[in-house]
Symmetry: C2
Subunit: 334 residues, 2 copies
């Protein structure tokens, strides 16, 4: 029913192989032959069947991207960038939402999903390094995010510690001394939350300001989590003059709750976040935050993964490139 290469070959009066050569831009084809084939393709409206190509070649030219949920702005913006970079290199991206569920993450790592892709970009949230290594097949895998760190796995790193320290130092420079941290447990040292909390502590120590665990409020990393956390903090009577949301969603939720409660931002309480999602620029007041280098993360991750896929020598050393960050000072913490 569909037009095949055979039809093109017949119309052009050449063999199947010649059509294939033309389609794949094989160099040494007589120009007249090539033109005959191109004319036949045009005439018949032929489209390469990518499924057949994949089956035979063993390459799908698709990358998998596993993340929690596209409705979370940071992931959506990162996915958008990754798709553009991949597209420019001739790959499509098949997105899988894990919903933060260990079972979904495991399924994405090993199930049939992998047979559709040549390699996987994975933002783990539920599985640890051992589980990932156990579940992952032989196809290339590159991790994003910081819930998992392991010397055996390729991954693109964010400078969580230094970027969080930079935010904290900025708040301290603005005269703040009681900086609440929203989105971590006191004592966390791993994962995005733990690493950022450590950066915060380091900056306090550098400035000679004492660390107070009462200022550290754990909560879900969502807008309503940040709002709830601030509500609890205000209700508890703990004094604070600044809030560091460990991501922008938390900071924006916190900002919202502060304003609802009649606090002046930044006069009474300064607010800063982490991620620099698009929304941060247009919050009111606009949100001071740190850009973790999203474009660079997308670029490096795709490049690393494609290099692994196309490399003839798969035994290359584990790579863990690090993206550059940048502080973005706005109204919420000038």
């Amino acid at each position: 029913m569909a037009v095949t290469m055979n039809d093109v070959a017949r119309v052009a009066g050449v063999s199947l192989k010649t059509v294939s050569n033309v389609i794949n831009n094989y160099e040494f084809i007589r120009p007249t032959t090539k033109q005959r084939v191109l004319d036949a393709i045009d005439e018949l409206g032929y489209e390469t069947n990518l499924t057949a190509r994949s089956l035979r070649s063993g390459k799908t030219s698709m990358l998998g991207l596993v993340l929690a949920d596209l409705s979370i702005p940071y992931y959506a913006e990162l996915a958008s960038d990754i798709m553009k970079v991949a597209w420019a290199r001739g790959y499509r991206v098949l997105v899988e939402q894990s919903g933060n569920e260990p079972d979904h993450e495991k399924a994405a790592l090993q199930g049939q999903f992998r047979t559709l892709t040549d390699g996987l970009l994975f933002i783990p949230l539920a599985l640890d390094a051992e589980q990932i290594i156990a579940a992952a097949g032989k196809k290339p895998l590159v991790l994003l995010g910081e819930y998992v760190q392991d010397p055996r796995l390729d991954m693109v790193l964010i400078q969580n510690h230094r970027a969080a320290a930079a935010v904290t130092t900025h708040l301290l420079a603005g005269g703040r001394r009681r900086i609440a941290v929203v989105g971590a447990h006191d004592g966390d040292t791993t994962g995005s939350g733990g690493l950022r909390l450590e950066g915060y502590k380091a900056a306090l120590a550098d400035a000679g300001v004492e660390y107070d665990p009462a200022l550290v409020v754990p909560c879900d990393w969502r807008r309503d989590g940040g709002a709830d956390a601030i509500a609890r903090l205000l209700d508890s009577g703990v004094e604070f003059d600044a809030v560091f949301g460990l991501n922008d969603a938390l900071a924006l939720g916190a900002l919202h709750e502060l304003l609802v409660r009649g606090k002046k931002v930044p006069q009474q309480v300064a607010v800063a976040g982490f991620d620099d999602i698009d929304e941060a620029r247009f919050a009111s007041p606009s949100l001071t935050t740190v850009a973790p280098g999203r474009a660079e993360i997308a670029e490096r991750a795709v490049e690393l993964l494609i290099n692994r896929i196309e490399s003839k020598t798969p035994a290359a050393k584990v790579q863990q490139p690090e993206a550059a960050f940048e502080l973005r000072v706005r109204q919420s913490a000038p």
Copy 2:
């Protein structure tokens, strides 16, 4: 190299067909045979090669989704919903970003992309109905969004006119009389902008309030577009006591600019939007808007498309179901 059904058949001591039957849950298999096959699958770690299945069966079990850009919250949230609904029905979703480019949209409609999917969900922004009909192949196609309306095409509709009228009526009920509209040209009657503008006009007429074209400000449908539009309106000296952003991004950009300029919202100027993106709830003040029924849109679109794909009688009448909307009153326009 990979484990194939042949390997499973050999280990289980049955024929290829029997393995296939087990995998595809064919009913009439002796339980002991089935168990032997399942054991072999387990033992060998066999995974179905989806590419091979697609080639043979002519079905990819993938739906294409063409939208402008995932970094736009409304699209990201809609994509997330669509993927979940499709997943529940046994389909994956392959997202393609058109960047609002006619060439990209055309490529998504006809190119090799179509050979990877069984049907397409398409949010057109650049092509018109004629171009879409000309470019689309024979595979099922369902349109979303309202830039294109045509009786020949399946699509899921939003009640733009009535929902926009409801927002306007709400603002009028709050005592506002000079309601600026951000995101349309005076005279637009088609596309999301035109339809919503018409709804606005209808509500004004119902209330006996005169329509003033000076209050209608065209701009890009993005946060900065809304901010710019309000800046221009304020600079022009036109008086207004409310702003209706034709989507939430516009309304949030407008809100931001109003606050920057020292206007009190909602005391001096009320603000309302359209879409009810997640961010609207957590803006400060929170944004009054209308929810166009995103979950229902996703549900209906996927259902309609899958029905077309799986239907034996493809000659069924064009379908254009309509989603229910709901006004969400919040602080920006109580």
